[in-house]
Symmetry: C2
Subunit: 135 residues, 2 copies
Amino acid sequence: MAHTEYKTKQRSVIENIIKNENEHITVDGVMLKLKENGDNIGRTTVYRTLEKLSSEGKVRKYVNAGESACYQYISDNCQEHFHLKCSNCGKLIHIECKHIDELASHIEKEHNFTVNKLKTVLYGICEDCAKNEKN
Amino acid sequence: MAHTEYKTKQRSVIENIIKNENEHITVDGVMLKLKENGDNIGRTTVYRTLEKLSSEGKVRKYVNAGESACYQYISDNCQEHFHLKCSNCGKLIHIECKHIDELASHIEKEHNFTVNKLKTVLYGICEDCAKNEKN
DNA sequence: TTCAATGCAAAGCTTTTGCATAAAG
DNA sequence: CTTTATGCAAAAGCTTTGCATTGAA
């Protein structure tokens, strides 16, 4: 039936953690914060809460190859960043840069495809690895 | 140390399957084709071969939330364009567009990161799925 | 009292690893 | 004969589910 939502301590605690996280966070990350704060909340509940927030559109969920899912709260002033991943060392670099918006809006207009910047990862070689390769 | 590569029946069979697949294919998909052809090759070998091809840059690997990884052979006529992948229906769209070069050169100059267009996939929602979501 | 939420343990999936065996060079 | 590749079974991660219990309304 209609399904009335109950307000619980667990829900608000988890929601607060992800709200105060400026970057994305994994379930493990949430579990750690909970432990730090002395909150004893089951991992299952964390999964279910994040999943719920995600389906409500309050949180973005995204996955990368071989990694746990990441969640990020969608705040009003949320500056969407995107990611560069080094194919050599595996390092993940977060950058905020308006240039991808230009590409995204072009692709949306001309190719009728809405790019999800959070999900998108540009692969390549990072500065450090490029240096080392030259040696 | 140098590691000499051996030519095996399994390797060439798997490589052929993915070469003749015009879109992407999962490990399960490869297993199925193998069974169809009467080839008895272990799942582990399929994983290892695809991983190897991927790290050699011959195959592109995609990961989506809650799905098995997909692999796609990078053919010669893939060199000039890059790829959009719909997170909803999984469709892979090939586009030729110079705009990504501008982004890539900006990222290289300002963020000291060399983007690999071949490996990079932009995730988002395709036209058809966007329409359906509105209903 | 009713029904949603919780949490443990167990199950489910995909992917990786250990190790003995087979095959290539 | 030496080294790589294979394949089974088992392990490893991450995530979901079953079910009895707790707690919000």
